[in-house]
Amino acid sequence: MKKIIEMFLCFLRIGAFTFGGGYAMIPLIEKEFVDNKNWISKEDFVDIIVLSQSLPGALAVNSSLFVGYKIFGVVGAVLALLGVVIPSFTIIIVISLLFVKFRQNPIVNSAFNGIKSAVPMLILFAIISLGKSLKKNVPTITILLISVFLLLYFNLHPILLIIFSIICGIIFLERNV
Protein backbone atom coordinates (compact mmCIF):
# COMPACT_ATOMS: atom_id res chain seq x y z
CA MET A 1 0.00 0.00 0.00
CA LYS A 2 2.78 2.39 0.93
CA LYS A 3 4.76 1.46 -2.18
CA ILE A 4 1.89 2.24 -4.46
CA ILE A 5 1.32 5.67 -2.93
CA GLU A 6 5.02 6.32 -3.23
CA MET A 7 4.91 5.37 -6.91
CA PHE A 8 1.94 7.64 -7.54
CA LEU A 9 3.57 10.62 -5.84
CA CYS A 10 6.70 9.97 -7.81
CA PHE A 11 4.82 10.10 -11.08
CA LEU A 12 3.02 13.22 -9.91
CA ARG A 13 6.37 14.86 -9.38
CA ILE A 14 7.66 13.66 -12.74
CA GLY A 15 4.50 14.88 -14.43
CA ALA A 16 4.89 18.29 -12.85
CA PHE A 17 8.46 18.74 -13.99
CA THR A 18 8.48 17.40 -17.52
CA PHE A 19 8.61 20.37 -19.81
CA GLY A 20 8.91 20.35 -23.55
CA GLY A 21 7.70 16.89 -24.44
CA GLY A 22 7.86 13.28 -23.38
CA TYR A 23 11.55 12.84 -24.11
CA ALA A 24 12.35 15.00 -21.11
CA MET A 25 10.57 12.45 -18.96
CA ILE A 26 12.91 9.61 -19.82
CA PRO A 27 15.85 10.60 -17.58
CA LEU A 28 13.44 11.48 -14.76
CA ILE A 29 11.78 8.06 -14.82
CA GLU A 30 15.15 6.39 -15.10
CA LYS A 31 16.57 8.26 -12.14
CA GLU A 32 13.59 7.53 -9.91
CA PHE A 33 12.63 4.00 -10.77
CA VAL A 34 15.81 2.43 -12.11
CA ASP A 35 18.59 4.19 -10.22
CA ASN A 36 17.02 5.25 -6.94
CA LYS A 37 14.33 2.72 -6.16
CA ASN A 38 15.51 -0.12 -8.35
CA TRP A 39 11.94 -1.18 -9.13
CA ILE A 40 12.81 -1.73 -12.78
CA SER A 41 15.98 -3.04 -14.36
CA LYS A 42 17.90 -0.89 -16.82
CA GLU A 43 17.28 -3.42 -19.61
CA ASP A 44 13.54 -3.51 -19.04
CA PHE A 45 13.49 0.28 -18.93
CA VAL A 46 15.30 0.61 -22.24
CA ASP A 47 12.93 -1.89 -23.85
CA ILE A 48 9.98 0.09 -22.52
CA ILE A 49 11.28 3.33 -23.97
CA VAL A 50 11.96 1.80 -27.37
CA LEU A 51 8.51 0.26 -27.58
CA SER A 52 6.85 3.41 -26.21
CA GLN A 53 8.36 5.46 -29.00
CA SER A 54 7.16 2.95 -31.56
CA LEU A 55 3.56 2.86 -30.44
CA PRO A 56 1.10 5.63 -31.22
CA GLY A 57 0.24 8.18 -28.57
CA ALA A 58 2.37 10.32 -26.32
CA LEU A 59 5.68 8.87 -25.20
CA ALA A 60 4.98 10.14 -21.71
CA VAL A 61 1.68 8.27 -21.60
CA ASN A 62 2.97 5.01 -23.05
CA SER A 63 6.08 4.83 -20.92
CA SER A 64 4.36 5.72 -17.66
CA LEU A 65 1.74 3.06 -18.35
CA PHE A 66 4.40 0.43 -19.03
CA VAL A 67 6.37 1.36 -15.95
CA GLY A 68 3.21 1.40 -13.86
CA TYR A 69 2.24 -2.05 -15.11
CA LYS A 70 5.68 -3.39 -14.35
CA ILE A 71 5.63 -2.12 -10.80
CA PHE A 72 2.05 -2.78 -9.78
CA GLY A 73 -0.04 -4.31 -12.54
CA VAL A 74 -3.12 -2.54 -13.84
CA VAL A 75 -3.60 -0.49 -10.69
CA GLY A 76 -0.02 0.69 -11.01
CA ALA A 77 -0.56 1.62 -14.63
CA VAL A 78 -3.67 3.66 -13.86
CA LEU A 79 -2.01 5.47 -10.98
CA ALA A 80 1.15 6.12 -12.96
CA LEU A 81 -0.90 7.64 -15.77
CA LEU A 82 -2.97 9.73 -13.37
CA GLY A 83 0.21 10.96 -11.71
CA VAL A 84 1.67 12.06 -15.01
CA VAL A 85 -1.52 13.61 -16.37
CA ILE A 86 -2.98 15.38 -13.34
CA PRO A 87 -0.42 18.22 -13.16
CA SER A 88 -0.79 19.09 -16.87
CA PHE A 89 -4.52 18.74 -16.77
CA THR A 90 -4.90 21.09 -13.82
CA ILE A 91 -2.40 23.65 -15.04
CA ILE A 92 -3.91 23.79 -18.50
CA ILE A 93 -7.40 24.31 -17.10
CA VAL A 94 -6.14 27.23 -15.06
CA ILE A 95 -4.34 28.62 -18.09
CA SER A 96 -7.43 28.15 -20.26
CA LEU A 97 -9.45 30.23 -17.83
CA LEU A 98 -6.81 32.95 -17.83
CA PHE A 99 -6.49 32.67 -21.58
CA VAL A 100 -10.14 33.33 -22.23
CA LYS A 101 -10.05 36.28 -19.87
CA PHE A 102 -6.77 37.92 -20.81
CA ARG A 103 -5.98 36.93 -24.37
CA GLN A 104 -7.30 40.18 -25.82
CA ASN A 105 -5.31 42.35 -23.42
CA PRO A 106 -2.87 44.38 -25.58
CA ILE A 107 0.27 43.29 -23.74
CA VAL A 108 -0.76 39.64 -23.71
CA ASN A 109 -1.61 39.98 -27.36
CA SER A 110 1.85 41.33 -28.17
CA ALA A 111 3.44 38.52 -26.22
CA PHE A 112 1.47 35.93 -28.14
CA ASN A 113 2.28 37.57 -31.43
CA GLY A 114 5.91 37.16 -30.49
CA ILE A 115 5.30 33.53 -29.60
CA LYS A 116 3.46 33.01 -32.86
CA SER A 117 6.60 34.03 -34.73
CA ALA A 118 8.81 31.64 -32.80
CA VAL A 119 6.62 28.53 -32.94
CA PRO A 120 7.19 27.69 -36.63
CA MET A 121 10.93 27.80 -35.91
CA LEU A 122 10.50 25.19 -33.20
CA ILE A 123 8.74 23.03 -35.72
CA LEU A 124 11.41 23.63 -38.33
CA PHE A 125 14.13 22.58 -35.94
CA ALA A 126 12.21 19.42 -35.10
CA ILE A 127 12.19 18.65 -38.82
CA ILE A 128 15.91 19.29 -39.14
CA SER A 129 16.80 17.05 -36.24
CA LEU A 130 14.55 14.23 -37.47
CA GLY A 131 15.92 14.69 -40.96
CA LYS A 132 19.45 14.19 -39.68
CA SER A 133 18.64 10.77 -38.29
CA LEU A 134 16.65 9.64 -41.31
CA LYS A 135 18.22 6.84 -43.33
CA LYS A 136 18.91 8.36 -46.68
CA ASN A 137 18.28 5.57 -49.11
CA VAL A 138 16.22 5.76 -52.27
CA PRO A 139 13.03 4.12 -51.03
CA THR A 140 12.92 6.22 -47.86
CA ILE A 141 13.50 9.47 -49.69
CA THR A 142 10.89 8.45 -52.24
CA ILE A 143 8.35 7.90 -49.48
CA LEU A 144 9.29 11.31 -48.09
CA LEU A 145 8.78 13.09 -51.38
CA ILE A 146 5.56 11.30 -52.19
CA SER A 147 4.27 12.09 -48.70
CA VAL A 148 5.02 15.78 -49.03
CA PHE A 149 3.29 15.81 -52.38
CA LEU A 150 0.23 13.93 -51.12
CA LEU A 151 -0.08 16.23 -48.12
CA LEU A 152 0.46 19.57 -49.73
CA TYR A 153 -1.00 19.03 -53.16
CA PHE A 154 -3.81 16.58 -52.46
CA ASN A 155 -4.38 17.60 -48.86
CA LEU A 156 -4.42 13.93 -47.93
CA HIS A 157 -5.57 13.25 -44.39
CA PRO A 158 -2.63 12.58 -42.06
CA ILE A 159 -4.17 9.30 -40.93
CA LEU A 160 -4.36 8.04 -44.49
CA LEU A 161 -0.79 9.08 -45.05
CA ILE A 162 0.35 7.16 -42.01
CA ILE A 163 -1.47 4.04 -43.18
CA PHE A 164 0.06 4.48 -46.63
CA SER A 165 3.55 4.83 -45.17
CA ILE A 166 3.16 1.74 -42.96
CA ILE A 167 2.20 -0.29 -46.02
CA CYS A 168 5.15 1.15 -47.95
CA GLY A 169 7.47 0.33 -45.10
CA ILE A 170 6.35 -3.27 -44.94
CA ILE A 171 6.48 -3.79 -48.69
CA PHE A 172 9.52 -1.78 -49.71
CA LEU A 173 11.90 -1.31 -46.85
CA GLU A 174 12.92 -4.85 -45.99
CA ARG A 175 16.30 -4.42 -47.58
CA ASN A 176 16.98 -1.14 -45.87
CA VAL A 177 16.13 -1.85 -42.26
Binding site: S54, P56, G57, A58, V85, S96, G114, A118, V119, A126
Partner: protein, 173 residues
Protein backbone atom coordinates in the same frame (compact mmCIF):
# COMPACT_ATOMS: atom_id res chain seq x y z
CA UNK B 1 -23.69 13.19 -31.37
CA UNK B 2 -23.18 15.55 -28.48
CA UNK B 3 -20.03 17.59 -28.02
CA UNK B 4 -18.58 15.39 -25.29
CA UNK B 5 -18.82 12.24 -27.38
CA UNK B 6 -17.41 14.07 -30.37
CA UNK B 7 -14.47 15.39 -28.36
CA UNK B 8 -13.80 11.89 -27.07
CA UNK B 9 -14.00 10.28 -30.51
CA UNK B 10 -11.88 12.86 -32.29
CA UNK B 11 -9.14 12.80 -29.69
CA UNK B 12 -9.32 9.02 -29.63
CA UNK B 13 -8.65 9.09 -33.37
CA UNK B 14 -5.77 11.49 -32.83
CA UNK B 15 -4.29 9.37 -30.06
CA UNK B 16 -4.56 6.23 -32.20
CA UNK B 17 -2.61 7.52 -35.16
CA UNK B 18 -0.18 9.87 -33.52
CA UNK B 19 3.11 8.17 -34.25
CA UNK B 20 6.41 9.92 -33.94
CA UNK B 21 5.96 12.29 -31.04
CA UNK B 22 4.21 15.54 -30.25
CA UNK B 23 5.23 17.42 -33.35
CA UNK B 24 3.78 14.74 -35.61
CA UNK B 25 0.61 14.76 -33.56
CA UNK B 26 0.25 18.45 -34.35
CA UNK B 27 -0.62 17.69 -37.94
CA UNK B 28 -3.43 15.40 -36.83
CA UNK B 29 -4.68 17.96 -34.33
CA UNK B 30 -4.56 20.73 -36.91
CA UNK B 31 -6.49 18.66 -39.40
CA UNK B 32 -9.21 17.49 -37.09
CA UNK B 33 -9.57 20.15 -34.43
CA UNK B 34 -8.85 23.25 -36.51
CA UNK B 35 -9.67 22.41 -40.12
CA UNK B 36 -12.52 19.91 -39.71
CA UNK B 37 -14.31 20.83 -36.52
CA UNK B 38 -13.23 24.44 -36.03
CA UNK B 39 -13.08 23.93 -32.28
CA UNK B 40 -10.21 26.36 -32.14
CA UNK B 41 -8.85 28.81 -34.71
CA UNK B 42 -5.47 28.39 -36.33
CA UNK B 43 -4.19 31.34 -34.30
CA UNK B 44 -5.31 29.74 -31.06
CA UNK B 45 -3.72 26.51 -32.24
CA UNK B 46 -0.38 28.26 -32.55
CA UNK B 47 -0.93 29.83 -29.12
CA UNK B 48 -1.46 26.42 -27.55
CA UNK B 49 1.72 25.06 -29.11
CA UNK B 50 3.60 27.92 -27.51
CA UNK B 51 1.86 27.45 -24.17
CA UNK B 52 2.57 23.74 -24.28
CA UNK B 53 6.30 24.40 -24.47
CA UNK B 54 6.11 26.36 -21.25
CA UNK B 55 3.88 24.04 -19.26
CA UNK B 56 4.54 20.54 -18.02
CA UNK B 57 3.09 17.61 -19.86
CA UNK B 58 3.08 16.31 -23.39
CA UNK B 59 1.42 18.33 -26.10
CA UNK B 60 -1.14 15.57 -26.54
CA UNK B 61 -2.52 16.06 -23.05
CA UNK B 62 -2.14 19.82 -23.10
CA UNK B 63 -4.00 20.29 -26.34
CA UNK B 64 -6.71 17.76 -25.49
CA UNK B 65 -7.34 19.43 -22.17
CA UNK B 66 -7.31 22.91 -23.66
CA UNK B 67 -9.57 22.16 -26.60
CA UNK B 68 -11.89 20.07 -24.43
CA UNK B 69 -12.13 22.74 -21.79
CA UNK B 70 -12.69 25.67 -24.12
CA UNK B 71 -15.33 23.70 -26.02
CA UNK B 72 -17.22 22.14 -23.13
CA UNK B 73 -15.79 22.96 -19.74
CA UNK B 74 -14.30 20.41 -17.38
CA UNK B 75 -16.45 17.62 -18.82
CA UNK B 76 -15.06 18.46 -22.24
CA UNK B 77 -11.51 18.45 -20.93
CA UNK B 78 -12.07 15.03 -19.36
CA UNK B 79 -13.64 13.63 -22.54
CA UNK B 80 -10.89 14.84 -24.81
CA UNK B 81 -8.09 13.81 -22.48
CA UNK B 82 -9.54 10.32 -21.90
CA UNK B 83 -9.91 9.94 -25.65
CA UNK B 84 -6.32 10.82 -26.42
CA UNK B 85 -4.94 8.27 -23.95
CA UNK B 86 -7.38 5.45 -24.63
CA UNK B 87 -5.52 3.65 -27.41
CA UNK B 88 -2.26 3.91 -25.46
CA UNK B 89 -3.98 2.33 -22.50
CA UNK B 90 -5.38 -0.52 -24.61
CA UNK B 91 -2.12 -1.21 -26.43
CA UNK B 92 0.02 -1.11 -23.31
CA UNK B 93 -2.45 -3.36 -21.49
CA UNK B 94 -2.16 -5.90 -24.30
CA UNK B 95 1.58 -5.67 -24.76
CA UNK B 96 3.06 -5.09 -21.35
CA UNK B 97 3.99 -8.74 -20.83
CA UNK B 98 5.63 -8.87 -24.23
CA UNK B 99 7.66 -5.69 -24.29
CA UNK B 100 10.98 -7.14 -25.38
CA UNK B 101 9.33 -9.42 -27.90
CA UNK B 102 7.39 -6.64 -29.55
CA UNK B 103 10.09 -4.07 -29.64
CA UNK B 104 12.07 -6.49 -31.80
CA UNK B 105 9.17 -7.35 -34.07
CA UNK B 106 10.17 -7.30 -37.71
CA UNK B 107 6.89 -5.84 -38.92
CA UNK B 108 6.97 -3.11 -36.34
CA UNK B 109 10.44 -2.13 -37.50
CA UNK B 110 9.39 -2.07 -41.13
CA UNK B 111 6.27 -0.09 -40.32
CA UNK B 112 8.32 2.42 -38.35
CA UNK B 113 10.89 2.68 -41.11
CA UNK B 114 8.07 3.53 -43.51
CA UNK B 115 6.55 6.01 -41.10
CA UNK B 116 9.69 8.00 -40.41
CA UNK B 117 9.78 9.86 -43.72
CA UNK B 118 6.02 10.33 -43.59
CA UNK B 119 6.30 11.84 -40.13
CA UNK B 120 8.86 14.32 -41.38
CA UNK B 121 6.50 15.18 -44.22
CA UNK B 122 3.64 15.65 -41.73
CA UNK B 123 5.67 17.99 -39.56
CA UNK B 124 6.79 19.86 -42.65
CA UNK B 125 3.17 20.36 -43.69
CA UNK B 126 2.37 21.82 -40.28
CA UNK B 127 5.35 24.12 -40.65
CA UNK B 128 4.13 25.35 -44.01
CA UNK B 129 0.60 25.92 -42.73
CA UNK B 130 1.72 27.81 -39.65
CA UNK B 131 4.52 29.80 -41.24
CA UNK B 132 1.98 31.05 -43.75
CA UNK B 133 -0.12 32.44 -40.93
CA UNK B 134 2.68 33.77 -38.77
CA UNK B 135 5.03 35.47 -41.15
CA UNK B 136 3.15 38.42 -42.47
CA UNK B 137 5.29 41.17 -41.01
CA UNK B 138 8.93 42.20 -40.70
CA UNK B 139 8.72 42.21 -36.92
CA UNK B 140 7.55 38.60 -37.06
CA UNK B 141 10.44 37.72 -39.30
CA UNK B 142 12.93 39.31 -36.92
CA UNK B 143 11.63 37.36 -33.95
CA UNK B 144 11.65 34.21 -36.05
CA UNK B 145 15.30 34.72 -36.92
CA UNK B 146 16.22 35.35 -33.31
CA UNK B 147 14.31 32.23 -32.28
CA UNK B 148 16.08 30.23 -34.96
CA UNK B 149 19.43 31.50 -33.74
CA UNK B 150 18.62 30.55 -30.16
CA UNK B 151 17.53 27.06 -31.21
CA UNK B 152 20.64 26.67 -33.31
CA UNK B 153 22.71 27.31 -30.20
CA UNK B 154 20.70 24.63 -28.42
CA UNK B 155 18.87 26.95 -26.09
CA UNK B 156 15.91 25.18 -24.52
CA UNK B 157 12.55 25.72 -26.24
CA UNK B 158 10.99 27.07 -23.04
CA UNK B 159 13.49 29.92 -22.99
CA UNK B 160 12.99 30.53 -26.69
CA UNK B 161 9.24 30.88 -26.24
CA UNK B 162 9.60 33.10 -23.18
CA UNK B 163 12.12 35.27 -25.01
CA UNK B 164 9.84 35.56 -28.04
CA UNK B 165 6.99 36.63 -25.76
CA UNK B 166 9.16 39.38 -24.27
CA UNK B 167 10.37 40.46 -27.67
CA UNK B 168 6.80 40.59 -28.88
CA UNK B 169 5.97 43.02 -26.10
CA UNK B 170 9.13 45.08 -26.51
CA UNK B 171 8.97 45.59 -30.24
CA UNK B 172 5.27 46.16 -30.01
CA UNK B 173 3.86 43.41 -32.14
Amino acid sequence: MDILTKLFMVFWKIGTFAFGGGMAMLSLIEREVVANYHWISKDTFIDIIGISQMTPGPIAINSATFVGFTSAGVAGALSATSGVILTSFILVSLLHHFVSKFKDSKYLKLALAGMRPAIIALIFSVFIKLAWTSYSSIKGGIIALIAAGMLHYKIHPILVIVASAFLGIIIGM
